[in-house]
Each structure stands twice: as structure tokens, then as C-alpha cells.
């Protein structure tokens, strides 16, 4: 059977989640690999969430927020961006391919972009193959 990755996606309520909804109302087909979790702002996304997702067996993690300057809470997306840079370093040290995580800005009107992003990311993860973190963690225990 073909490898069907599971990607946990954190979307901010105001721009990205609305953008994903728009992809739906526009009936844009994309890969069923995403599992979307809604947060109020990309600034809410804690590194723990991302590690937890990998720990639970996610093959990739996607983080989406408003475009710079458009944040509903003025600057949450900038904070998310800064945290994300650190997380990228951190997961590399953990031995996770940095391509497994991705940060993207999706506005409320970018349903098409969101669908394309979902497909693109799924392909990237497919190329990388399944994540082994969960198995490794279980071995350690």
C-alpha cells in the first residue's frame, strides 16, 4: 500500500482557517493527509504542540498564520516566525528532517494557495517517507 502521510496542521482562526474553509467552499480538491487544529493565533502555537505531534506519529507539521502585517492580533505571526526559526534548529538536532515542518502565510482569500500547499507538503513528506520518531521513542521506553 502506498504511504499515506499524516500531517498535523495548526491554523490561525482569522486568516488561515478561513482560507482553508474557502478551499472547501470552492471545492478545491487536495490530499487528505492534513489534520487541522484551530488556534486563535499563530502566536499561540507552542513548540510543545509540534513536538507532541511528532511524538504521536505525525509525519509532518504545518503551521499557518496571517501574512506579515495582517495579524488579527497585530503581531502574533511575527512571534510565531521567530519561534519557528528556533524549532527548525531544534528538530534538526533531534534528527528530524527540517522539511517535515513548514511555516506558511495563508490569508482568508487564499483557498487555492492552501490547497496547493497541502498537496505540495504531502508530496515532500511522501518523498521523505514515514517519520520514525514515534518508533524510536517507543524503543527508548
Amino acid at each position: 500500500m502506498e504511504f499515506e502521510p499524516k500531517i498535523v496542521a495548526f491554523l490561525c482562526n482569522w486568516c488561515s482557517y478561513t482560507g482553508a474553509d474557502l478551499a472547501g467552499t470552492s471545492r478545491m480538491k487536495y490530499s487528505p493527509s492534513l489534520r487541522i487544529i484551530r488556534v486563535m493565533c499563530s502566536g499561540r502555537i507552542c513548540p510543545t504542540f509540534i513536538f507532541k505531534a511528532f511524538q504521536e506519529g505525525a509525519d509532518g507539521v504545518l503551521v499557518c498564520g496571517c501574512h506579515p502585517g495582517d495579524c488579527h492580533y497585530n503581531e502574533g505571526n511575527y512571534k510565531c516566525l521567530r519561534r519557528f526559526k528556533l524549532i527548525e534548529k531544534y528538530i534538526r538536532q533531534m534528527g528530524i528532517e527540517p522539511d517535515r515542518i513548514r511555516l506558511a502565510w495563508i490569508s482568508a482569500s487564499e483557498g487555492k494557495l492552501f490547497a496547493e500547499l497541502a498537496n505540495e507538503m504531502t508530496q515532500t513528506i511522501k518523498n521523505l517517507g514515514p517519520s520514525t520518531i514515534k518508533a524510536q521513542l517507543e524503543q527508548m521506553v
Binding site: K6, A20, V39, C46, K52, E56, G57, Y73, K79, A108
Partner: protein, 575 residues
């Protein structure tokens, strides 16, 4: 601790969900999850019988957590929360799984879609277990209203509200009121003078005791929340701080400059003018060329900039009707002149406009269709022997012929685009813009004048180009919404704010620095942070920055989100 008793409801949404998702299987799988007492599927959960089903279950089975898998929570979360309240349950003990916009509408593979729906429902079930009852907070509504923009939409809204005796602050960035409508000579379809309608409103607004007009002014800063906003208005060198409960945005649009479309030779050849310039000419009461002669042939080119993927990909909505209006005005002033409508598609919508189209055709106006996807019409200077000033070369689509059109005067029906300031203002207000820079309404069908920010309404052409009557209707609709809120005197505000568990807080004050609203205060005596819940908007940035986990974002707690992550990944474990 009380026993967790979860009810799960899977909506078919007619065939919208049921077509691509095996709803019965999702319900069966959800029934197996820990804490789930009942799991059902139903045709329309949002319908009255659907809600009643849920209410009955809550009361009869003693449910204390509810999960509905249906459409996006942006559409029906409020509906279901109200149903919970009706059943006597706290509305925050509820979670939605979006299996329509995120599943059935975007995935064709029924098996994979069903699997994904099960995952999302599992996530919601895991999450809802940790959700807490929250108490809604009511705040008093400041009865003053801020209206941004002094065009027909803003003026109408301001007047409607002020007539009830409420205070309105009207902020206009130009030096006078009237906006785009002031530039219009006559309105379609009846060719009435625009000033006949506009001037009395301007007069009433300018002299109304309850309206404070700020000309040459702009809103530059906004704080607070629905019912209690504080805005800073810049006017020239001075600044004012205003307090108001609601905001109506009516910033309108601006005409497209046709210079980049070099085929239309605007500003390069004489006697080629835009529709806005032609309105000005009509207001002066004449139609003439640069040489002061009267034109014998007038060509009106449609869709200049509009419906052009390189410029404005959308329809500007009013130009076709305006062009037909022009044809009638030209025929009235210069009965012998020949008028050519060079169009891409005639879209003469709105009441009375199709009739105007048909009447205009009867007046002997020539309609020529060009191919918007092919080569656009090209304007060149006429040769010496051509007995005219300008020649338009075009491929006429309905006849399939390459033809030339004689013209003395060319009117370019320029498209309408969003104001340059739309981005800056959207950031101040915290509202979203569409890909064409117009503001996005809360719901295109069900809530067309509200925005996702409570207390901020959008009316008129800042939402999309529209005609005067539509702008006025929207203005009145928004005014009614605002007045209803003022009349109620209080408004419920979201309680999704942050809160500090003082016993864990180490007093590092990181949260104080990351908060974009200055809502967190450091209590020096206790050496802990404290959230001012009136100012906090609940973004949760502090929660993710807190090193000890002392500060939490209500309804989006770490426990809830981690449980949801666990839930959406759970199926993988079982496979």
C-alpha cells in the same frame, strides 16, 4: 470529579457530507471512544429537529460534553452553543469537527475521507473532555459610533444613526464630504441628477448636532473591543482620541488609472478620457473635444482594467450601466452623434437597468463586442485622408470580422479598485481583505455587512464595487445592526482570554513583553503576572511564551490542544 459523558453528533449536511463520508461508520467509531455515551448521525444537525435531538439527549442522558462533526465552526458554532445553553449546559463544553469544508468538499476518495473524518472527530472528543465551563461576560455598549468615510454609504449610515439621537463621529480623509458620488453627474437608470440626492444628505450630516465631522482625517490607531473602542484620529497636525462602541467602515473605492494599458493611448493621444473625466465634463453641461468642437462619433470602451487578470480580475459592476447612461446623455445632448459601445460582455444588472439597455439599443447605439481574452481594441491616430481623429481597431467577436471604428472622442470605462489605504486601515481594524484588497464580510450570504471583528461593519464599495442604491442599503443595514446593539445597551464578549495560575508563575515577565495589547500587568507585591481580561483579546501568545505554563489561554489550553493532537493521531496507533 464528575464523570465525563460525551455526546457525538455527525451531520450529513444533506448529501454535502454524506456523499463523500460514511457518516454511519464515523458515528460507530466515535461511539467506541472513551467517555462517549451516545454517537448519532443525522441529516441536518443545524435544523430545529437536529438541535432538539441534541437537547433531548443532553437532558435525558445527562450528557456534559458535546461534539458535533459538521461544517466549519465559523458557520454554526454559535448555533450549537445556543442549543447547549437551551439544554442547560455551559456553551463552552462543546467542540466542532469540521468534516465538510475540510473533508467532504475537498476529498473525493470516500475511504480516505471517512478515515480523516474519524480522526478529526476523535481529536474533538479527546479535546472536549478537557474543556471547561466558562462564564460569558457582558459589557456596556458605548452609544457613540465611528463612521469611516464620507461617501454615500458613510453619510447614510451616519445620518441613520444620528437621527435616533446617538453620537456619530464621521471621519473623512478628503477635504469635503460626498466621496465618489459627488463626481457623478446623473444616476442610472433614470438619469436623475446625483446632486439632487446627495446634497441634502451632506447638508443634514454637516449640520447635524449629533454628528461630528472630521475632514482631512484618518483613523490611525484602535484599541478596545466591541462596545468599547478607543480610536486615535489624525487630522493634519493634531490628534484626537475618540471613544465609541461600534465602527462602520465606508471607505469606498478609487478609479483605475488606464495608463498601463498602452493600447488605449490614454494621455498619449488627445480626446481619450476616462469615465470619471467624462462625468466631470457632463457636470459642466457640455460634451466637446479639446478643440472645443462637438464630437460626431463617440466610442465608449468597456472593461478598461476590469476583468483583466493583469489588473483588476473582477467585474467592477457599475461600468456597463454607466456606459449605457452615457450613451443616453450623449444622444440627449448631441442627437446627431454616433455612439459606439465597445464591450466585452454587457452586464446591465440591477432594477431597471436591463430596460435601460434595451431602450439604449433602440436609440441606435452600436454595440460592438471585443474579445477580452484575445487582442484588446487598439486606438490609433487617424491618417490624413480618414476624415476622423481617432480610429479604433478591433476584432469584433459576434461577426468574427476585423473592423475599424471611427471616433472623435473615446471614453474609457475604467474599473474600480480598492483604496490605497485599505491595507493600512485593515491592519488598524483587524479585519481581512480579499485577494483584490476589498474587505471581507463575515459571511457572504448570511452576514454581509459584519466582519469577523465584532463591532466592525463594512458598507458600500470598500467591500466590493457597488452602485449607489446597494451602498445605501448596506449603510442602513449596518446602522440597524449598530442601533440594535446600542438599544440593547450591553453586549456579550468572548471569554477566551488568558489567565494566570499564580501559584506556578515565577514572575519572569516574558508574558508582559509579548502581549500586543499591554493587557498583562506584573503585580509587584505578589511577584506574579496578572491579566486584565477587559483588554486581553485571547490570542494566546503569552501562553505559548510562558516557560512554566502558568499562564493559560482559556478554551485553548495546552491540555486541550495536546489532547486534540493525540486524538487526531490516534487512529494511526490502532491501524
Amino acid at each position: 470529579m464528575e464523570e465525563i459523558r460525551i455526546g457525538v453528533y455527525i451531520c450529513w449536511c444533506g448529501t454535502n457530507i454524506a456523499k463523500n463520508v460514511d457518516v454511519e461508520r464515523v458515528a460507530a467509531e466515535a461511539g467506541k471512544l472513551q467517555g462517549v455515551v451516545v454517537a448519532r448521525d443525522y441529516k441536518y444537525m443545524c435544523s430545529d429537529p437536529g438541535q432538539d435531538l441534541m437537547v433531548k439527549d443532553i437532558q435525558e442522558m445527562n450528557l456534559n460534553r458535546i461534539v458535533v462533526a459538521a461544517c466549519s465552526p465559523r458557520i454554526h458554532e454559535i448555533t450549537f452553543r445556543k442549543a447547549l445553553e437551551k439544554a442547560g449546559l455551559n456553551p463552552y463544553l462543546f467542540q466542532m469537527a469540521n468534516i465538510r469544508e475540510q473533508v467532504s468538499w475537498v476529498h473525493d476518495d470516500r475511504e480516505k475521507a471517512t478515515q480523516k473524518a474519524i480522526d478529526l472527530v476523535t481529536g474533538a472528543v479527546k479535546r472536549v473532555r478537557w474543556q471547561e465551563a466558562l462564564n460569558k461576560r457582558s459589557v456596556k455598549v458605548n452609544p457613540a459610533t465611528l463612521v469611516i468615510g464620507g461617501g454615500i454609504a458613510g453619510l447614510t449610515a451616519a445620518r441613520e444613526i444620528a437621527r435616533t439621537g446617538r453620537i456619530v463621529f464621521l471621519v473623512e480623509k478628503e477635504k469635503s464630504l460626498g466621496g465618489m458620488m459627488k463626481k457623478i453627474n446623473r444616476t442610472f437608470p433614470n438619469l436623475d441628477e446625483a446632486s439632487k440626492y446627495l446634497n441634502p444628505i451632506i447638508e443634514e450630516v454637516s449640520s447635524h448636532p449629533h454628528i461630528q465631522v472630521y475632514l482631512n482625517s484618518q483613523l490611525v490607531k484602535l484599541s478596545g473591543y466591541v462596545g468599547n473602542f478607543i480610536g486615535t484620529v489624525n487630522h493634519k497636525e493634531t490628534q484626537s482620541e475618540l471613544e465609541f462602541g461600534n465602527i462602520i467602515v465606508a471607505t469606498g473605492l478609487k478609479p483605475f488609472k488606464p495608463t498601463p494599458l498602452s493600447n488605449y493611448a490614454y494621455k498619449r493621444l488627445p480626446n481619450i478620457i476616462t469615465s470619471v473625466e467624462f462625468e466631470e465634463m457632463l457636470s459642466k453641461g457640455y460634451i466637446r473635444l479639446d478643440s472645443r468642437q462637438e464630437p460626431k462619433h463617440v466610442a465608449i470602451i468597456h472593461c478598461v482594467g476590469s476583468r483583466n487578470p493583469d489588473f483588476l480580475p473582477y467585474c467592477s459592476r457599475t461600468c456597463c450601466q454607466t456606459a449605457l447612461k452615457f450613451a443616453n446623455q450623449i444622444k440627449d445632448l448631441l442627437p446627431k452623434a454616433h455612439v459606439y459601445q465597445i464591450y466585452a460582455d454587457m452586464r446591465s444588472m440591477s432594477k431597471g437597468c436591463e430596460e435601460m439597455y434595451s431602450k439604449t439599443a433602440k436609440r441606435g447605439v452600436m454595440f460592438l463586442m471585443y474579445d477580452q481574452k484575445g487582442k484588446l481594441p487598439y486606438i490609433r491616430e487617424a491618417g490624413k485622408n480618414e476624415k476622423t481623429r481617432l480610429v479604433i481597431e478591433m476584432k469584433e467577436l459576434l461577426s468574427g470580422e476585423q473592423v475599424e471604428v471611427t471616433a472623435d472622442l473615446v471614453i474609457l470605462m475604467v474599473g474600480m479598485e480598492a483604496q490605497e489605504t485599505s491595507k493600512q486601515l485593515s491592519q488598524v481594524l483587524g479585519i481581512s481583505r480579499c485577494s483584490n484588497n476589498f474587505y471581507i464580510e463575515k459571511h457572504p450570504k448570511l452576514d454581509p455587512v459584519a466582519t469577523t471583528t465584532d463591532g466592525v461593519f463594512i458598507v458600500g464599495s470598500c467591500q466590493a464595487p457597488k452602485e449607489i442604491s446597494d451602498s445605501a442599503s448596506q449603510a442602513k443595514a449596518a446602522a440597524a445592526r449598530v442601533l440594535a446593539m446600542i438599544n440593547k445597551d450591553w453586549v456579550e464578549v468572548e471569554v477566551i482570554t488568558s489567565s494566570v495560575r499564580e501559584e506556578i508563575c515565577c514572575g519572569c515577565q516574558i508574558c508582559v513583553h509579548v502581549c500586543p495589547y499591554g493587557a498583562i500587568e506584573f503585580l509587584k507585591e505578589k511577584k506574579v503576572s496578572c491579566v486584565n481580561e477587559v483588554i486581553c483579546k485571547g490570542c494566546g501568545t503569552c501562553a505559548s511564551a510562558c516557560p512554566t505554563g502558568a499562564i493559560g489561554s482559556r478554551h485553548f489550553t495546552e491540555k486541550q490542544i495536546l489532547a486534540q493532537i493525540e486524538g487526531v493521531m490516534l487512529q494511526l496507533l490502532e491501524v
